[in-house]
Symmetry: C3
Subunit: 425 residues, 3 copies
């Protein structure tokens, strides 16, 4: 039913964007948004100046990184930003220093139990500098003098984010939010923007939409906070469901992280679809949250936002290291996530509340809706009529009947056409 | 406590009614209702003319069946309505045709996995004709010419149902509904009317009743719909509990089918009694409904109606075939069902909401309600006083205390007499 | 955090009070209250005259017991009140009779399955007399003549109880109730008054208290009823939580008996603390109640009162016999109960409802509340902010987060000081 984009196309987008060194501000974010705007021409890229307040926060200085390396005494680059932009701690201040090993080591980050991985480390709000290297390399460093160079700027500038509002029949909105602030990582960065972009293209291709879609690409945390500081009042009025798209690229599992209190339309649709598409999936607690639902579901904002993922951040071995490369995500993983979100959206679009028109069961036979002999059993159609009491929406109806809501909707449409059901929401 | 009719008497009624060829209309229903009226002289038999509208339905033509048979070329009756009225498909049109085997076979019904059984088949609303035979016989039929004769009428007439309203102290009503439209079958037809008749006789014998009883004998589905089209507005105002009596004749198990949403007074009383009388019983979902609760609990009617059965329709091997004969039901099975329903009714009659009269525990000793030494343990009496807070009715009180409500009521009566409890409903 | 009294001090109080022959009235209660008043000088001892009505009750005659014994024909005292005041049935009428063994035996009480124990028996409201002896002794009694002497008075007098109201910042009250009416028994009598006395001393030592504390020492049942007959209207308005302190002296387990419907602030605080202090504890049903919660939770009073115990009355082998002596209670058992109650009280004192001040997460770093690198995980502080939505009180917040509320409070205080949380109750 869904006009499925190829997983290969999403994978290619991710591969194109992979080398860019993104951070919460700076040219990397702009390059990334510019690339996505080619796919979504109506995407609006916003700029917010350093120092602009956003609730308890303000926009930080913009960070530009050009080069960074560690040379040994022989002038050999033993750590080189050109080879992996994960080597430099995000938001490192500019330096050019000769240090002995102990002094250098105080600025190194590595992960002992993943000895070959370069970890991903940032320090947005505390001025410092550092390098991330594999633990193997760190342990092999010999005493001596090292030159550490970081060619960066950290000064007033702008923060960028992008949004695309796709209007529907009503002003009620569904939010799709993803982030664009991590450097060269695949599942925990690029899977989100590319699946979101594919969903936006699909939504634009639909002849009509019941709901309006608010699609945002933001730097995580500060970007979501800035976005909410400008849009929360409107969003609180209009948002019926929302989703944070992150880690939607591998093909090992499906994961679900509920909204703060759970049970919202977003949660109900997500779980219904996961149950019928994936069967088994990993169900987390809101205590295990970690992305922008932290802002969307915060008590002062309280939007109905949950997150459906493939392997959740923090749970897969490559997470937040150089191992989270293009080998972690797959065309199948991306298109599985796309299909799941498209099905969730379809379900919310079709989620009406029905009520039977006639007291007692209607006469199905005269409408060609019943087989002739009494050997036949009650079926889905009869069960929909039996439970359609004007209080259960389609998702609740499907859960009561124990059937996939997509199937229930198909039959409900038949009953609606036969004037045996009415919409009461 | 209950003036129990003999299971033998109910069995005899069933045996007397067994040979009659009932359908949703026609002389069979009238003969059956006339027989029951001998036992319940105040039973009122109603007639509704063909074409009368009833919600989404209208009364169908009346069907009269006089004879039906299949002859082989030698003139031998190989299938004969006189031997079993299940042989003819209910509402078959009149015919007299010579057919070859293939033509005949298109009008035959049998059940391959019950090779000796004649199935029960009807086609009320699609004009056709057919014969039901054992699968053994069907497979033994030889090529050749056959004469199929059905001597029936299908023309404007009447539909009959009967009702008996037994007035009580209040206008609030308890509904007992059963059906009278199946031909020669025992558990899935006659058990319902005979247990209902016995319950009506018992209710009439009581010196007084708190509730008014509405007892209806209707053709299944169309009869219930017609009845509701005439009485639903009144019943919605007055009905506190209702039950569909069907399949109440065998002695293999007890079954419970809840009302649509469950938790009504009918459901609570039924489950409490089944737990204390039967211990174990088969608990079904409303998804597995199949009798007139489909009408009574439909969203536009929404009465508090559930069903307590012995072996539920559709679950026992003889169901809807000639095997469901008088060997399936037993005097013990019928009287067990009677006793269970009588106990449920008694429980609803005695289901008052109590509140303790005095703040703190009352002094039981001065009323002769307490043993003298402190070695004695708290007992049922003390627990009733402890929980009687004016919010829990007798059933809830019994569930809180973990005792049979009949026992709780006996002690509550003592406390009421001692002016330690008051009724607050 | 809590200024813990020594278990030894509580044990000494219990040992001092152990020999006194208490009953629901009489000099034993007065001696006991006089002893406690030395520890709590502001304790007010009340007297209520025989015949004074109290709801469904009235104050009984006062009982004074001076001596009681059984002599054999040789004049030897074979049962002697001086050796154990449990030997005489509480409220025995005065007698001086010669009886043969059969006549005597009709007035003897013993426990066959605890052959060495003298049981505790009373007959407050039915005039009789009796002796309690070990089953071993009873079975060894030889036919012959015995002289039974009870030197008691049973005549109009007074009933005593004591109360101490410790004022706090608000008029809302926490009730601590214990009883002072059992003779020489340790866990099921003296543990309650001594732990309650220690709690009162601790509460008095606090620089300030949010709540007012109502601490009552009453004869069980009649004392609580009299107390409520005088104070219930006030207590219904003011009481936010209450506890019955009984059987708080041994060190074998912790027990919890809920209020009638459970879920009150008292219940929630008690269970939260037991879970975090004791881990495992015995959870009873209100059906198993047995002390003054019977009055405090009765439907007409309905205070939020539960009971936290060590080994619950009726469940440990020494209960209600001479075996419940000072060897059953321990300094550690008493101080464990004290600490648990103190922690419950502290929790209720600190149980505020918080709401996050800023929409979205606040910026922790600028307040020194966040470590600098993104490798750090969300912690307690972040979770409190995430769930503090103005609907969950501290206990609910701690349950949501899965942490001890004491820890949650410590962090909440930091957030309050940082103006990131506000109190909204």
């Amino acid at each position: 039913m869904i006009n499925q984009p190829s997983g290969e196309k999403m994978f290619k987008w991710a591969a194109d964007l992979f080398p860019i060194c993104r951070s919460i501000t700076g040219p990397g974010v702009r390059q990334t948004l510019a690339y996505l705007k080619k796919e979504l021409p109506d995407l609006v890229v916003h700029s917010v100046a350093t120092g602009t307040p956003a609730f308890d926060w303000e926009i930080p200085d913009e960070w530009t990184i050009r080069d960074a390396y560690i040379e040994d005494e022989s002038g050999k680059r033993i750590v080189d930003f050109i080879k992996s932009n994960l080597h430099v701690v995000g938001y490192s201040t500019p330096i050019d220093l000769w240090l002995d090993l102990a002094e250098l080591d105080a600025h190194l980050h590595s992960v002992p139990d993943k000895p070959s991985a370069i970890p991903y480390v940032t320090s947005y709000y505390t001025r410092t500098w550092g390098f991330c290297i594999s633990h193997e390399q760190r342990q092999a460093l010999k005493p001596g003098r090292y030159r550490a160079v970081i060619d960066s700027d950290l000064k007033p500038g702008i923060l960028n984010y992008a949004e695309l509002v796709i209007h529907g029949d009503t002003a009620e909105e569904i939010l799709l939010s993803t982030y664009v602030c991590h450097p060269t990582m695949a599942n925990n960065e690029l899977s989100g923007p590319v699946v979101t972009t594919a969903l936006a293209q699909w939504l634009l291709s639909l002849p009509r939409r019941r709901y309006t879609y608010r699609i945002v690409f933001v730097p995580e945390t500060i970007g979501a906070i800035v976005y909410l500081s400008r849009n929360a009042e409107h969003m609180k009025k209009c948002t019926v469901a929302g989703f944070v798209l992150t880690c939607v690229g591998d093909d090992r599992t499906y994961s679900y992280l509920p909204s703060r209190k759970g049970g919202t339309l977003a949660d109900r649709a997500a779980e219904h679809v996961l149950k019928h598409i994936a069967g088994k999936y990993d169900r987390y607690s809101y205590l295990e949250r970690g992305s922008d639902e932290r802002q969307y579901c915060s008590p002062g904002i309280d939007l109905p936002v949950c997150s459906v993922m493939r392997s959740k951040y923090g749970t897969y071995p490559e997470y937040h290291t150089s191992l989270d490369d293009l080998s972690v995500i797959t065309p199948g993983g991306l298109s599985g996530a796309f299909g799941t979100y498209a099905r969730i959206i379809e379900l919310i679009e079709m989620n009406r509340t029905y009520k039977e028109v006639f007291p007692c069961e209607p006469r199905l036979g005269k409408r060609g809706l019943y087989n002739m002999t009494s050997l036949d059993k009650s079926d889905l159609l009869v069960n929909i009529l039996a439970y359609a009491d004007g209080s259960a929406d389609l998702i609740a109806l499907a859960e009561l009947i124990g059937e996939d809501a997509i199937k229930v909707d198909a039959v409900a449409q038949t009953l609606l056409a036969a004037k045996l059901l009415q919409i009461v929401d």
